[in-house]
């Protein structure tokens, strides 16, 4: 099963937790870091120009963020009658939607005043977890045909929801779905990600990289450049990403590494050591990244020369381009290359000869 353990925003790893605690209703999916024993809450205000919210952060006593939530109080209207809704919405530290809570007997209902069924709560939870729904592209008025007489009774016209968006909303609750989805994937989400970024450190990076949800790992990899130093444990974790042979994760990691980070001799050496151990597409990414480095570390040069004879023709040609890019000129290289030619592959032979011709006057 290619797909069996892959994390997704949506679908197969959506782990539904439904708690019925007295009158409380809770739907959750798994967070990156489980709740610790000791935690406190801080609050941050956000003003998204329409509404002002306080964001609560649960964190461990040592300051590691665990999750964020808001207590949303909004109005849901039926047939020109509105009543307040209190709902608590949770985000993972990576900005991923985690779940919602309805406390103290609060519940959701549809246009005909019917309370949500368990299946409808699950459907809503599933929809909120999908960041790719087109709901963000539309104003609510675009989703439905609103007769003039009920222009303020938005869920009251959910039956007239445009046909092509029906699959993106809980039937009979278009407004509720649209409203909550846009809260979940709106400015608050951006804000919680910024909050986590402010406390991003090697420990948190490695923790997120261990998440079972791939989108969490993607989030961390894209921010690897925020780490001021790459310690041994981080480098080990990074190299582990390449061994997963998940092309996009490797691409993202290499793309995100800063030029400062790439100066690390240990990192360069460990990256080069992947040649021959990962798919060629990822190998090519590594060669390209090493070309981006301000210099190729002497340890990489020495190691690469020692394995020249073991490389395939394609790898050898890539390496010659890397040498040319960094103007690598060592007598040992000249000797090793001279031993490779004549090569059985005329193309490789020609590439080696061209390299030698271009550089023969300037070797150490």
């Amino acid at each position: 099963m290619i797909n069996s353990i892959k994390g997704l925003w949506i679908g197969i790893i959506l782990i539904l937790f439904c708690f019925e605690n007295g009158d409380d209703i809770r739907y959750f999916q798994s967070s990156t870091i489980p709740i610790g024993d000791s935690m406190d809450i801080i609050t941050v205000s956000i003003d998204d120009s329409q509404e002002s919210h306080e964001i609560f952060l649960r964190r461990t006593s040592s300051g590691t963020p665990l999750r964020y939530f808001i207590e949303l109080q909004t109005g849901i209207c039926f047939d020109n009658k509105c009543r307040p809704l209190d709902i608590v919405i949770y985000w993972n530290i990576t900005g991923r939607y985690l779940g919602f809570e309805l406390l103290d007997g609060e519940f959701l209902s549809k246009y005909d005043h019917t309370p949500f069924t368990e299946k409808e709560y699950e459907e809503l939870h599933h929809l909120l977890a999908d960041p790719f729904l087109p709901l963000g592209n539309f104003e609510f008025e675009e989703l439905v045909t609103i007769p003039d007489t009920v222009s303020h009774s938005v869920d009251g016209v959910s039956g007239a929801t445009a046909k092509d968006v029906l699959e993106y909303v809980v039937e009979g609750a278009a407004y509720t779905t649209h409203k909550l989805w846009n809260v979940v994937h709106g400015p608050i989400r951006e804000q919680v990600m910024r909050l986590t970024e402010s406390s991003f450190d090697p420990f948190l990076f490695r923790k997120i990289l261990q998440s079972t949800d791939q989108s969490d790992r993607t989030w961390a990899l894209e921010r690897v450049s925020l780490l001021s130093e790459l310690d041994d444990a981080v480098i080990e974790a990074l190299i582990g990403v390449f061994h997963e042979e998940e092309y996009f994760q490797s691409y993202l990691l290499l793309k995100s590494l800063s030029s400062h980070q790439l100066e690390s001799e240990d990192l360069q050496l460990k990256l080069f050591d992947l040649v021959g151990k990962v798919d060629q597409s990822i190998e090519n990414l590594i060669f390209d990244k090493l070309a981006d480095a301000s210099h190729l570390s002497p340890a990489v040069v020495d190691h690469s020369i020692s394995i020249l004879k073991d490389l395939t023709g394609a790898q050898l040609v890539r390496l010659l381009k890397l040498y040319s890019h960094h103007r690598v000129k060592k007598a040992e290289l000249l000797g090793e290359l001279s031993r490779i030619i004549p090569h059985e592959n005329k193309y490789v032979d020609n590439q080696v000869l061209q390299f030698l011709k271009k550089n023969s006057d300037s070797f150490d």
């Binding site: 290619i2 790719f132 989108s215 996009f248 090519n284 592959n345």
Partner: protein, 459 residues
Amino acid sequence: MKRREMITKMGALSLGFATPHLSKGEVLAAPYKVQKRKIETEILVVGGGTAGVVAAIQAGRAGTKTVLIESGSQLGGTTTTGGVSFPGIFHAWGKQIIGGIGWELVMDAVNLNDDILPNFSIIPDNKSVRHWRHQVTVNGSLYAMLAEEKCVEAGVDIHFYETPTEINFIKGKWKVKTVGKGIANEIICDQIIDCSGNAAAASIAGFPLLREADTQPGSFIFRIGGYDFESLDLSKIPKEYHARLRQNMLINEDVKVESSVNNFPPTVPYNYVYVHGADSSTAELHTKANIEGRASLLNLIRKLRTFPGCEKLKLVSAQPETVVRETFRIDGLYKITHEDYVSGKVFDDSLSYSFYPIDLHRDGQSIYQEFLKEDIVATIPLRALIPKNSQNFLVAGRCLSSDRLANSALRVQASCMGMGQAAAAAAVLAIKHSVTPADVPIGELKNMLKEHGGIVPEA
């Protein structure tokens, strides 16, 4: 005037008519003469499109003397001249399934244009994330130049503006007569790889071809601008034109986002009009398809400019050719069936993958699509690239041996790239072992592909 004097003067006068007066620096050009050459090579690739480029580079990198003839002016075919600068699909179910030279080209184009890849880790569900969101937007002009650079580096002898007219198999060698601007070549080679898309070389060589009575429409690709889609009152514009206006909203530059995590192209980065019955297999038919495509686009532009908010609509670009979906297919040693495709059948001689929904454009009115089920990826066996009763002849690209529904999915660019690389590796090994491609050692062939970055299906 004496008679002798008169004749002399008349002679000078007639010479004056025949010989133009030369200004300083001008020389008289020699009369037009077709240059005839005899060229010997090991592999001849016919067609420098999506599959042909990859085939030629693979053959060259394997150390084989290679000639590539292309009837147009640049490499890349559908991806460049055709304007479908949106190749795919290279990833399926969280894994890369087509790599090698085709992917290398795509990545070089992406990097040199500062583009960002879509997030392949997110698997399309064909609801909120459609399959084409894993296609990669590339700068077509850049792609063409990179393809050319890689061919040249691989030692490929590129012949633009050249097309075959006669192909004969004589004493174990192919003799291919070609014509082009001012040239008439005879190319003698060991192996031919037909990447013309129309199985043109296969047909000239005498191998029977298959064709549907009614083929899918072609597309004439363009971009329009000069209007703000967001501010249009779509209720005042007939619905049939909404997609035309919406689809072109986002071009390559616009789909770039800060984060690559959710970086999916929101829409296909080009626009097109259908060209019914489009056929590129002869100059006459391709001319007809081009004229119809351009006429159709002109009519569309005139119509769009009558709608409120579109009065200043402009044609930003139009491709030089109508791009074609379907013409001829070879009758191969094996015909890939619809059932093979949707079940992801792996053959002993499967050499590359294909991942695209069955995608049949019917009558230009609707598209029949059938998505592959979870974890299913179709494969392409070597035998589907070899015409029946042939020797030393391969095809790669949309003309492979397949039934119509399978072909509607196999024809896409990533699959054609995989085929191109596979066909070239087979041709190289056929030369090495002095056998016809059908008889090359499959294990060695798979190893060669892997060495060059190909991703080979495992049974």
